[in-house]
């Protein structure tokens, strides 16, 4: 039980830090980029 739980805790941590968080970060940043791009398509290029 305890060895098993330790393994599961480590795997969960590794998945969060190495997979989930980076993927979410990239998705959020690219999503933000797309939103800004779409707003530029509608409202014209920045500064106009």
């Amino acid at each position: 039980m305890s060895e098993m739980q330790k393994k599961e805790e480590f795997r969960t941590w590794l998945f969060l830090t190495a997979v989930l968080a980076p993927v979410l970060a990239v998705l959020v940043v690219s999503g933000y980029g797309f939103v800004v791009w779409i707003s530029q398509i509608i409202g014209g290029p920045p500064g106009s």
Binding site: S2, Q5, K6, E8, E9, F10, R11, T12, W13, L16, T17, A18, A21, P22, A25, V26, V29, S30, Y32, G33, F34, V36, W37, Q40, G44, P45, P46, G47, S48
Partner: protein, 192 residues
């Protein structure tokens, strides 16, 4: 599968029994630092000339054209690379431009400008887009290097000094209004 998910969900939502708060916090912090470093490295790589001219569309057309211009070869060896003029420096606009590049990936996959002929046919549209962009942001990418306040009109040609001291100074015109086709050849402007 449901059992598997439930088990890991429980591990996720409960305090760790085997790993200290110190390890988890510092470990997460270090992973964050590594991620941000990798992210920026990748982002900077997409700003390099080497990256731009990896595709023949850029290498065989616009890259060939800039080489004899003053922005590539000159007496002092200071020069502009693709991203200096075509990628905004401001973070938000840079991210937007990087996402906009997905359209360029699309064009690359479907060969939108895969031949010289296709490129020449499309070049007016591509150039107009950059001109509109620079007219809107008051030629920001020019001004990243060229500072109006440091221009010495006495060292400019009469015609340049005349234009810069009037229309440019008053803000009525911006760099790109006159300086089109200086780094790449002009499109065929005759046809509509």
């Amino acid at each position: 599968m449901r059992d598997f998910l439930r088990r890991y969900w429980r591990t996720l939502t409960r305090p760790s029994a085997y790993y200290s708060l110190g390890f988890l916090t510092i470990g997460g912090f270090v992973a964050g630092v590594l991620f941000w470093g990798a992210f920026n490295t990748a982002m900077e790589f997409t700003n390099t000339e080497q990256f731009c001219i990896a595709c023949h569309e850029m290498r065989d057309n616009v890259y060939q054209e800039i080489q004899p211009t003053i922005h590539f070869t000159n007496r002092s060896g200071v020069r502009a690379k693709c991203s200096d003029c075509h990628v905004p420096k401001d973070w938000t606009h840079k991210m937007a431009r990087k996402m906009q590049a997905s359209k360029e990936v699309w064009g690359w996959i479907f060969g939108t400008i895969s031949t010289r002929e296709k490129f020449l046919a499309k070049r007016r549209e591509l150039a107009e887009r950059e001109w509109v962009r620079m007219q809107a942001n008051d030629s920001l990418e020019c001004r990243n290097c060229h500072e109006f306040g440091s221009m010495d009109f006495t060292r400019q040609s009469k015609r340049a000094a005349q234009a810069h001291s009037t229309s440019l100074q008053s803000g009525e015109k911006t760099c790109i209004d006159c300086h089109k086709g200086i780094a790449h050849r002009l499109p065929d402007m005759a046809k509509q």
